[in-house]
Symmetry: C2
Subunit: 377 residues, 2 copies
Amino acid sequence: MPAVPELARAGTPDRAAARVTSRDVARAAGVSQAAVSLVLGDKWRGRVSPGKAEAVRAAARELGYRPNLAARSLRTGRTRTALLVVPALTTEFFARVYTGAARIAADHDFGVVLYPSPEGIGPARPSPSTTHGGRPVRAPLVPDPFASASAALDGVIASSMAADALAALRTPGLPLVMLDSDPGDATASATVNLDIADGVRQLTAHLTGLGHRRIAHLAADVDSWTFAVRTRTLTDALAGTPDAVVHRVPTALGVDAGLRAAHTALTVPGPRPTALLCDDDIIAAGACKAVRRLGLRVPEDVSVTGFDDLALAVAVEPELTTVRLPAEEFGEAGMRALMAVLDGAPTDAATLPVALVPRGSTAPPPDTPHNTARPGG
Amino acid sequence: MPAVPELARAGTPDRAAARVTSRDVARAAGVSQAAVSLVLGDKWRGRVSPGKAEAVRAAARELGYRPNLAARSLRTGRTRTALLVVPALTTEFFARVYTGAARIAADHDFGVVLYPSPEGIGPARPSPSTTHGGRPVRAPLVPDPFASASAALDGVIASSMAADALAALRTPGLPLVMLDSDPGDATASATVNLDIADGVRQLTAHLTGLGHRRIAHLAADVDSWTFAVRTRTLTDALAGTPDAVVHRVPTALGVDAGLRAAHTALTVPGPRPTALLCDDDIIAAGACKAVRRLGLRVPEDVSVTGFDDLALAVAVEPELTTVRLPAEEFGEAGMRALMAVLDGAPTDAATLPVALVPRGSTAPPPDTPHNTARPGG
DNA sequence: GCCGGGACGTGTTACGTATAACTTACGGCG
DNA sequence: CGCCGTAAGTTATACGTAACACGTCCCGGC
């Protein structure tokens, strides 16, 4: 009846508020502990009378009972906890992946523990012992790997990892869902991918349609499938436009790195590229700065495109033409796949569509008649 | 001896790779299970001979033993897991807070579970039962609050919550560390704050020093201490400059909202403000867009300032003058405070310094002799 | 020569839950 | 009337760990 029952029984000031167990509830309701477990576990149809069931529920409510998760996990062998391994959480993209995954997890009464690699995208290489339990352990503190815990996880979702890092994550008996990883390289319980290749195709069609023929690709110099597929697809996508040339400029991640790479791309000897195809929005933002520092304009002199469609894409001016990756849906799909695996579903793979978002950072190249080609729509 | 012992004993293909327990290790090492627990728990000095201790460690390594976390938690009553409650993870700021907190947690062999409020900053109001166990539970799915779990958490860190949400988080027996919350309103186990007030003072000194007298404050319309203190301090900080006027324009969060609020601030009847003091960098980015859409320039016609110093601050042009909030250190300090509380330390409070970062988005106001006043440094 | 105490271990128990196995009552049916 | 199936419960057990309480031996001091 009282809204805050905890305060009513705050009579034990010594330690942690005298935990109330299922046995306490049983005593209060005049039944056995087993009956309490059955009722609260919703397995009582035909085992406990409706009247007693209601009494149990009332007693539990009254006492403020909450089941002890550790005991439950010990008994059932399930923890209702998933580990999400992401290269870096401070990247908006992965924060949104987490948000989507956490939403689905909540629907299934699952918790999500994060393992953000301290090294960032690419070199992430957690050892199995490290990831078990989701408790990253500093090497100096715990000399022996087995000192870290296990049996704390029901499954793992790994996003955008390098192939060898993925192999290290593989643990016998622990379902592994791979997000945005090479579909062919490892045996995962399930796979979810973004249709990056289609995004690249849409992007190149957009640029060549505007008339661009000299394109610099600011390629993230990171060992990750999601970036590898950009580079690979780009050459294929431009095969239909024989006079198009693409110049690959490797770059680190970040605004500054993008700025430097764009500077390189725009000042290299030979005819200047008219478009900078950047591997993500942040690199693209840096590229825009480089263009302006060289006294050029976006998009009149140089077109710039991004990838991801982060909040940043509409914060800069001009707003970035980019490929929208459905980050939340990505996380949702990953967690849904894990739930399916835990329910015994067979291994399967899904691919999520992406969409080109044309904005102000792309335009026909300079000194080109506007009717050379028709933009897509 | 083998690098990947799990693969060597993958002979049971049926279920989850036949867990190896401390009893298995004991059998292999020829000792009792108690001895294994003592050795691996590093409590064996004078209880187990060095030779047997080494044998136990070898056996554990050989078998790939990892302690069962659920059983350990059930026995010890500790879970080595902390809950971090943040308004929204997709905000870079809170992602960085998490990163800092997770780093310290790892040093103490703690895990971190997140509770991102689905509603975003402000209206976050998790009930105690919801937050217990870090498993957000949808109301429709689980009708009774006690169906969610407890005993899964050793402590809670709550960041930038509204006062009533904080009150709801308070749970007897569960340590609560408050981050960036009203220091006076609730009894927390510990408190860590950013010196937001000082940041506002530095910002206003910077602006008035440049000669600005008409300032619009784009104030986040969100019930959170960190924003409330900005508004409160601003009037105090301008008290020393009698001819300064500040016009408060409430705004939601986000680029678009900032754009609209800035438009309002700049087109309201009367003399136009020469500076827009924005409650965070994202609002400031929107404000810059509004300035340019009105045919004005940043910073020549209108100065714009942000708050937080996100990656976005240097991605836009001009780069934002802002107040750098040490997000990672903030999370670190919060987790350190929780660890101290768990070690029995008394309640205490800390305040982290912030720093003005002058960049290109501020300049003396137009039609003002540059020597009206001296900028700070 | 006896005794106290440290080194070295082991047996046992309890943590709180879920569930298999068992018991009893009772109504319907052959 | 005997039997069985189902409802309505209870009793008992095991999950894997940490740690308490209890032994035994040996050595050194008086």
